[in-house]
């Protein structure tokens, strides 16, 4: 091609710097948890997500819409509209489509087409169980990110991902990801719930960005996560929070004074989400050690 597209890692680094945030908000709209009037609106998933996006965009480095939440009710069009809204209103804010696709050859190429061409996602999550043939078609979009599942947040995953102890699958995935990263566009999904393993992944992959779920509702410890997962520049992590930002009912008492735009329409939920995102962003930034103390610089 005539021009060399900017790699996904570079776009992500720019987003980290521009936002001053490692926080990513996961867009997991659950119909039964939506506030009115979204709960009853046919396009409520889109409307809710766009309101959350607009309320939190300046606080985050990325957004991560989750495909099943739209697919379960046949709302693919709303997913596409949410992504288009982010691109239009918040240019430069990467959209990581959480779809965890995994198939081979021409079928994997169609999943890549779905994520990158149909939805216009900047990155997509991919499952490595079928090996390199399931990742390669995604890599053929050099300007898009491919976030390969490595060490996931749930306890039942160790059975496959941590075996055998001497050469666990998750570290083999990490090593393979370095090979796959020729275009600077591979990430690994490495959960906050296993900080020791997160540290081993960081040691294995150098500065490769890690997409890190498990903070918040799943109980991962933020300080341990940062110590284990930051890169030498004090970045390197896309720390995802979904439910704790989208549905912060229990923790949304103190709004922090920025909810004016929403309060008038009775949409306090967005101010609550903004407050939750801001608390989490601030807590992350407060806990980030100075680069010199990371032991990696």
């Amino acid at each position: 091609m005539a021009t060399c597209p900017i790699g996904f890692h570079d776009r992500l680094r720019r987003a980290w710097s521009d936002s001053g945030s490692l926080l990513c908000v996961g867009l997991d709209p659950v119909r039964s948890r939506l506030p009115p009037p979204f709960s009853d609106s046919p396009s409520g998933l889109r409307e809710f997500c766009c309101a959350i996006v607009d309320a939190t965009a300046d606080l985050v480095c990325a957004f991560k819409p989750q495909a099943a939440h739209f697919a379960a009710e046949g709302a693919e069009e709303q997913l596409a509209e949410v992504i288009a809204h982010i691109h239009q209103s918040w240019p430069g804010k990467p959209v990581i489509l959480d779809a965890k696709r995994g198939d081979i050859g021409s079928t994997a190429a169609l999943y890549a087409k779905e994520a990158f061409e149909r939805y216009g996602a900047d990155a997509v999550t991919v499952n490595p169980y079928l090996g390199e043939e399931s990742v390669r078609p995604f890599l053929e979009y050099p300007d898009r990110g491919v976030a390969v599942l490595c060490r996931t947040s749930n306890p039942g995953s160790g059975w496959l991902q941590k075996a055998p102890a001497a050469d666990p699958a998750y570290l083999r995935v990490a090593a393979a990801a370095k090979d796959w990263n020729r275009s600077g566009n591979v990430l690994l999904v490495a959960a906050a719930t296993y900080p020791e393993e997160l540290a081993k992944i960081r040691a294995a992959v150098g500065a490769m960005p890690l997409l890190t779920p498990g903070i918040g509702a799943q109980g991962g410890d933020l300080q341990q996560t940062l110590i284990a997962g930051l890169d030498a520049a004090g970045q390197g992590l896309v720390i995802n929070a979904s439910r704790s930002v989208l549905y912060p009912e229990a923790e949304g008492k103190e709004l922090g004074g920025t909810g004016e735009a929403y309060g008038a329409a009775g949409q306090e939920f967005a101010a609550h989400s903004r407050a939750a995102a801001r608390r989490l962003r601030d807590e992350i930034n407060r806990l980030i050690p100075a680069p010199s103390s990371l032991g990696l610089s």
Copy 2:
């Protein structure tokens, strides 16, 4: 619940017996390979698949539509219509949705809802990399099948699936699948391209049905597959063929005399597909050893 739904294994056994066939036709509609007029029709994916279904239904035990082929062009509605057509026109013929979903908890439950409620699939393929939490929500539909990826057909998969040699992941998945099979609704995906491993899977899981890709375009040997994979009753395999039946241009010379219904409308493609499916079904049935010689009875 008041009535006990018939388990998926029982429905599959009935389909094997009723059809006298272990063949499953995979519905992988590739826009650029569709014959006219389907190639130019907005609903061409559905029309092509329904024509293939009607041309081959009496020759097969099941159909396996592949999700990415519809998702890449935003044709989810056509996928739903194909599945509805099979249920309406060919009741009792199981539909295995090939989506290879893999996520945990409430997200996995939404993927199960997508497959079983939105699309009405009888079974769905699932990726085990995230462990039991990613399979359990599907198991909560006791009358639906859950086909867990075990040993896939592609060479690049051995790296994860066959490690470590002494206790390979694919055999750990097979052992787990026996635990997950309380409702008689778990299958394993075990490819024809690795007959030695297929035999080990069969030995590990007894009569559990295996969904077996890799015949045809991918080069799996049919006779070795049958020797390795049949159960003690001479059944137990859902042998999938997609491209070799859908696009049999190179092998479709001899039609076998049953294409009358399609020739009149210029739709010889369906007769070619029917001929390809019949050849494969007949070849499978010719190669099935008598039950007493299987060494498993």
